[in-house]
């Protein structure tokens, strides 16, 4: 019996497969592309080629494309899955999870391994991976390169929260001959400030802050996030798969419950 979790996000689709002992035996990430349905199909093929028989597994889908996974036994929101995934990855039952996703940024408060409260950004993309991507693009950098550069910059700020206006601010900074690292610094500041203001809407509580999602491996973001929140921020390379891992864990619970019946 396998427990599979599929997280179809706006930019990337993630897969996590666990065995009966809840060991992570397969993880995989690929761009979501235009069609979540096609992505779901290609993940299906991938699992098959790795010898994972879907007849022999319980599958839970999450993420904004969760409804496009025809072979899923159940769908669960990414909030619940990120919460569960973070508990598993960091072995911490009480704390805060910050997930900077492609389109959404969410802040989740965990208590005793359960989601206690959460906030998500509103329609606008400030403070999301999308914002970073747009800015990086206009500077001809990859998001990772931008984050790395930001560490050595300073002195510049972007005042606009709106992605469209912020992009034109960035372009005019480039035009003025501002150093790339300073612009990168300003972009990172802007994202993190927005995330921090989102987090401040949740009541503060105990426990560490775990950074999950696509930016979890970006040390600089993690560092300034910690400075602004005045606490340590932990992250793990598996953080990118938190949603999929949470979905796999949900599949395990679901499978057990069904079997118990």
């Amino acid at each position: 019996m396998y427990f599979t979790g599929i997280d179809i996000g706006s930019t990337c689709a993630k897969l996590a497969v666990m065995d009966e002992e809840k060991r992570l035996i397969l993880k995989h990430v690929q761009p979501t592309g235009w069609s979540s349905v096609d992505t779901a199909a290609s993940i299906y093929d991938r699992m098959k080629s790795r010898g994972i028989d879907l007849e022999e597994s319980v599958c839970v889908a999450t993420g904004y494309g969760r409804i496009s996974v025809p072979y899923a036994d159940k769908t669960v929101t990414e909030i619940t899955c990120h919460g569960k995934g973070a508990v598993w990855i960091h072995d911490c039952k009480t704390g805060m999870v910050i997930d900077i996703g492609g389109q959404d940024t969410k802040v989740i408060r965990l208590e005793n391994g359960q989601v206690k409260d959460f906030v998500m950004n509103d329609k606008c993309s400030a403070g999301t991976g999308r914002f970073l991507e747009v800015m990086a693009n206009s500077m001809a950098l990859s998001p990772d390169q931008l984050c790395a550069l930001a560490a050595s910059g300073g002195g510049v700020t972007i005042s606009s929260m709106c992605t469209v206006f912020a992009e034109s601010e960035v372009i005019s900074l480039i035009g003025r001959g501002e150093k790339r690292e300073n612009i990168a610094y300003a972009v990172a500041e802007s994202i993190v400030n927005k995330v921090v203001s989102l987090a401040s809407r949740l009541s503060t509580g105990e426990g560490p802050v775990c950074l999950t999602g696509g930016l979890c491996e970006c040390d600089y973001i993690r560092k300034i996030l910690g400075e602004k929140l005045r606490c340590g921020v932990i992250a793990s390379p598996e953080g990118r798969y938190a949603g999929a891992i949470g979905a796999a864990l949900t599949a395990a619970e679901y499978g057990m419950r069904k079997r118990g019946k």
């Binding site: 904004y64 669960v76 929101t77 990414e78 909030i79 619940t80 959404d104 359960q114 989601v115 206690k116 409260d117 959460f118 998500m120 509103d122 329609k123 009541s203």
Partner: protein, 383 residues
């Protein structure tokens, strides 16, 4: 009164009531009955009723005319205001078109400024609503109620006698009682019907011009629901949600749908489509009926009041009575008073009532339906 139709049919009829009343309002006008249009729960209906007028709610609920409205109004304004102004200006709302006068109150800043512009092309009677609920405020509000009475007498060449007014108060109280008896069926756990179906009746009934028939009709629907419940017809047991915040209707019904599509059930509405409008009665036996009317209306617990204790009193009571598992607050984007008050509501719900709370900010578009569903589903998974 006996309801012969099945409940689903009744609910469907109410869902279509607003549109069906478009024809009714024309007929009323042809019969020579004046029409008074209003936008808000603070509007003292009894005065217009005593003047022999029909009353109708004008709040617009679709984004159809927002583009038109934005030619005159700023974009970052509450969609209810923009849409209402847009429908008025483009003459697309038959209720507005047939209204002899539109009554506005100085509630939020956006609305009162909008009325200024609206009065350029329509008769608008603006009542000065205080932002507080103390004694001085009540004095002012009572004088405004009397000024409104005098205005209508003059406008419709009629006399609002004490007798007519008391009759109107009795009728409106009977309507309130019956609406309350209807929504109280949701105290049952599991709930007898879907919150969305109840909502259709609550909302649709405000577009019935013949108020005399409402009490019997509501009581009959309530009775039928109770009977079916006793016979074992009910909804599955699901997390019980109270919806609070800005008025809901039309486009924003997406919030109710999101709760019920994702495994919850809405058992109470603490907003202007629900309990806020019906909870309190006017004291029928008061010596000074104007005083009683003024008191009743000024006590509505809307976020335009500062402070706003009555909202919390009602909210707290409903959380208990309806055995609420979680509170969802819907605010409209750029509605400052409600958006500001979310902090206090969150604190009240989570720290005093010890149940989860979430707020969602939305507008009249359909763009955010995906995100709305995710958030509300996550909230329900948490319960």
């Amino acid at each position: 009164m006996e309801i012969i139709k099945d409940l689903p049919e009744v609910f469907q009829e109410f869902a279509e009531q607003r549109r069906n009343s478009f024809l009714a309002v024309k007929k009323i006008k042809e019969e020579g009955i004046p029409v008074v249009g209003a936008y808000c729960t603070y509007f003292p209906q009894e005065i217009a009723m005593a003047a022999g007028a029909a009353t109708v709610g004008l709040c617009s609920t679709s984004d159809e005319t927002i583009g038109e409205a934005e030619k005159d109004l700023p974009r970052n304004l509450c969609p209810l205001i923009k849409s209402s102004y847009g429908f008025a200006k483009t003459d697309k709302c038959p209720f507005f078109y047939f209204s002899d006068v539109v009554v506005g109150e100085t509630t939020c800043d956006g609305k009162k400024k909008m009325y200024e512009y609206m009065s350029e092309f329509k008769d608008v009677f603006l009542m000065e609503l205080p932002n507080t609920q103390g004694e001085e405020a009540l004095k002012l509000w009572k004088s405004e109620v009397i000024r409104f009475k005098e205005y209508l007498e003059e406008k419709f060449q009629t006399e609002i006698t004490e007798e007519k007014l008391r009759e109107a108060v009795k009728l409106q109280n009977a309507v309130r009682r019956s609406m309350k008896s209807l929504y109280q069926v949701m105290k049952h756990d599991p709930a007898p019907v879907k919150g969305y179906d109840l909502f259709k009746v609550l909302y649709g009934s405000t577009f019935k011009f013949n108020k005399e028939v409402i009490p019997a009709e509501m009581e009959a629907i309530a009775k039928k629901i109770e009977e079916e419940y006793a016979a074992g017809k009910m909804e599955e047991k699901r997390p019980r949600i109270l919806i609070t915040g800005c008025p809901i209707g039309g486009a924003t019904e997406k919030v109710i749908a999101a709760v019920e599509d994702n495994g919850g059930i809405v058992t109470a509405f603490e907003n202007c489509t629900g309990a806020k409008t019906y909870d309190r009665l006017v004291d029928e036996d008061a010596e000074d009926i104007y005083q009683a009317i003024a008191e009743r209306y000024l006590s509505v617990g809307c976020s335009v009041m500062a402070p706003n204790p009555n909202r919390f009193e009602l909210l707290g009571r409903m959380i208990e009575e309806y055995k609420i598992d979680g509170v969802v607050e819907m605010t409209l984007s750029a509605c400052h008073t409600y958006n500001l008050e979310t902090r206090k509501v969150r604190k009240f719900v989570t720290e005093e009532k010890h149940i989860p709370y979430m707020s969602v900010e939305t507008d009249y578009s359909r763009e955010d339906i995906g995100q709305l569903n995710t958030r509300i589903a996550a909230f329900l998974e948490m319960l």
